[in-house]
């Protein structure tokens, strides 16, 4: 187990380094941002000097090595536009994005689990058909369209919920601002998880050990909740790990629709402004979070499924 953890950890570090390299190369190709920073009146000499001062005249591998040696010490460079350390900007915005992603995740989990379980245990009932039809529908709904429809209904027509921002002051204001973005972001994963939980549970319910449990005279509830569900959740947990990463990605669009002051919106703005260090830094931080989550999911396997041997 110890060796497995260390190996996975090393692999994860490799992935993060790879991500920074990839993003760095991609953005390096967009050309250096100095031209955009200085006004149209700047002379060639001015540009050359600023470029030199900021280090953009060095070869890409020197710039990359420089970035990486800083990153190891927690220094992800300085935003070109806001003149603040990238790390500070990300840390400032990250709570809003995590709040949104966690709210969506919890919403998805709390609804998809019972829906999936009931659908599986009452297969082909009206409930099953309705909820699975609804799930298919939810999976086909573009995030941004759902957000706009919700804004139209709850902010435009009914006027009961705010349509943008994160709210200020009291917890009530913050909660009411969170409702629509969380539903918007959570719906896709809710729909997918409900379908996944249903099919996974149906598969397990057909296995021999479930028949044995039933033959022993256990109640259907015990069979489903104590015996089948634990096994049915194994493939679901894998998806959940990835799901949270997808939510972080989906937050980019949701944050744009609802003017939610998170990392996603910041990164879109940074790309438009060619704020090169800010983009690389942000993507690196998101990738690190994502990689850590996947590592945790892998380790969680062992708790759910003792058959998994870490070798």
């Amino acid at each position: 187990m110890g060796r497995y953890v260390i190996r996975r950890l090393l692999q994860s570090i490799l992935v993060v380094v790879g991500v920074t390299f990839l993003v760095f190369i991609i953005l390096y190709q967009t050309g250096d941002p100095v031209q955009l920073l200085v006004g149209p009146d700047a002379t060639k000499d001015d540009i050359a000097q600023i470029r030199h001062e900021m280090g953009f005249d060095r070869p890409w591998y020197v710039q990359y090595a420089d970035f990486m040696s800083g990153a190891v010490h927690g220094d992800f460079g300085t935003s070109l536009r806001q003149d603040q350390p990238v790390w500070d900007l990300v840390v400032e915005r990250l709570p809003a994005t995590l709040e949104l992603a966690i709210a969506a995740f919890v919403l998805s989990l709390v609804i998809s689990l019972p829906v999936g379980i009931i659908s599986a245990t009452r297969r082909n009932s009206i409930w099953d058909n309705l909820s699975m039809g609804g799930a298919l529908f939810g999976q086909s709904l573009p995030v941004f369209f759902l957000g706009i429809i919700l804004i139209y209904i709850f902010a435009g027509q009914l006027k009961i919920l705010p349509s943008f921002g994160r709210g200020s002051g009291g917890i009530q204001s913050q909660f009411s601002h969170l409702v629509l973005p969380a539903i918007t972001l959570g719906t896709f994963s809710l729909a997918r998880n409900a379908r996944l939980i249903r099919s996974s549970l149906l598969e397990v319910l057909g296995l021999e050990f479930v028949k044995t449990a039933r033959a022993k005279g256990l109640t259907e509830n015990t069979v489903v909740w104590r015996h089948a569900l634990k096994n049915a959740l194994i493939p679901v947990v894998t998806i959940f790990g990835l799901e949270f990463g997808n939510l972080l990605g989906g937050a980019v669009i949701t944050e744009t629709v609802f003017a939610w002051p998170g990392v996603g919106r910041m990164v879109i703005l940074a790309i438009q402004q060619r704020d090169f260090p800010l983009v690389v830094g942000t993507v690196t931080v998101v990738a690190i979070i994502f990689v850590i989550l996947n590592l945790l999911v892998d380790l969680l396997y062992g708790l759910l499924d003792p058959r998994v041997r870490y070798s």
Binding site: P142, F144, I149, V257
Partner: protein, 324 residues
């Protein structure tokens, strides 16, 4: 070898029928009436017609394809130009609407119905071409990775890990920032970012197939690696690839719409569904719902249609991919 493939598909169909609960019904029908009324149809069509959802999906898809191919025949209006005097007209059934603009007009007076029709063209083109590119890259890398193993396998799979560690949309945005706007660029971006799933699934299956006796036999008689991969292993993996590709078309259409919505896709005068929703966004509170609702519904229907057909294809061809 062909037998192997046939057997795999048959097995798949059996599982699917049991899982769907429809299989028994039709077999019952068969014994009761002596012969099936659709016995003249090929098995795949009969399976399709048995599945009500999939039939609906196919009907939707046919409509989307007709819209895409026949946009200029169905509507005589210009999707890129409108009369500014006609701006923000409501749909035909609202007061103030006219039959000339069935679904109303946008802020520049362009006909929404016409733009939705032309939007189908963009969505389908991007969906299909990007998936072909992603599939070609993914299948090739998956075959190589699984067949040769070792160092090259490690390298390819680590690249896949790296790509999976960045939320797809961030990755696509970064690439588009380099390439700039344009239909070809969005297709390339979605093609490059989409290969990983194929790569992994194909690799996994190649690992299993390469240890089978018929592959061993081919190697013994001196078949070259390329021939073994393409002629002996690949045909056994086709079913999975088709299933993956069908879902990928849906997710690619969604991705294109999202990127267009963020303003990163194609220039704003090109009629895309995502771009239309983005443009209509400024009119949510003022109540011109038709500007974003109809293109939004178009995306939803197209994706829904592909997803249900994909579901059925998976049950028919390869139920093992259920967890995707």
């Amino acid at each position: 070898m062909a037998e192997q493939k046939g057997a795999a598909i048959e097995r798949g169909d059996g599982d699917a029928a049991v899982d769907q609960g429809h299989g028994y019904q039709s077999r019952h029908e068969l014994t009761e009436f002596g012969k099936s009324p659709r016995s003249g149809l090929p098995a795949i069509l009969r399976s399709l017609l048995r599945n009500r959802m999939a039939t609906i999906g196919v009907v939707i898809l046919v409509l989307v394809v007709i819209a895409a191919l026949g946009a200029s025949v169905i509507s005589s209006q210009d999707p890129r130009r409108g009369r500014i005097l006609d701006s923000k007209l409501p749909p035909a059934w609202s007061s103030g609407g006219s039959t000339e603009h069935l679904l109303g007009t946008d802020a520049l007076g362009r006909d929404i119905f016409t733009r939705v029709l032309y939007g189908a063209r963009i969505s389908l083109t991007v969906g299909i071409v990007a998936v072909l590119i992603a599939g070609a890259i993914g299948v090739t890398l998956g075959l190589i990775s699984g067949y040769y193993g070792g160092f090259i396998d490690d390298v390819i799979m680590r690249i896949a890990d790296i790509q999976l560690a960045v939320p797809f949309i961030l990755f696509a945005i970064a690439i588009l920032a380099v390439l700039g706007q344009g239909l070809d660029k969005i297709i390339i971006t979605l093609g490059i970012t989409g290969w990983v799933t194929y790569g992994r699934v194909v690799r996994g299956q190649v690992l299993a197939w390469k240890r089978t006796e018929f592959v061993e036999a081919a190697r013994c008689i001196g078949a070259r690696d390329g021939a073994i991969m393409l002629k002996h292993i690949l045909p056994n993996v086709y079913a999975s690839i088709i299933v993956l590709a069908s879902f990928a078309v849906a997710s690619t259409i969604l991705a294109e719409a999202s990127l267009s919505f963020l303003g990163l896709g194609v220039p704003p005068d090109v009629p895309t569904w995502g771009g239309m929703v983005a443009a209509g966004r400024d009119y949510i509170i003022s109540g011109q719902y038709w500007m974003y609702t109809f293109p939004g519904i178009a995306i939803m229907l197209a994706v829904f249609g592909i997803n249900v057909v994909g579901d059925w294809l998976r049950d028919y061809l390869d139920p093992r991919l259920k967890n995707l």
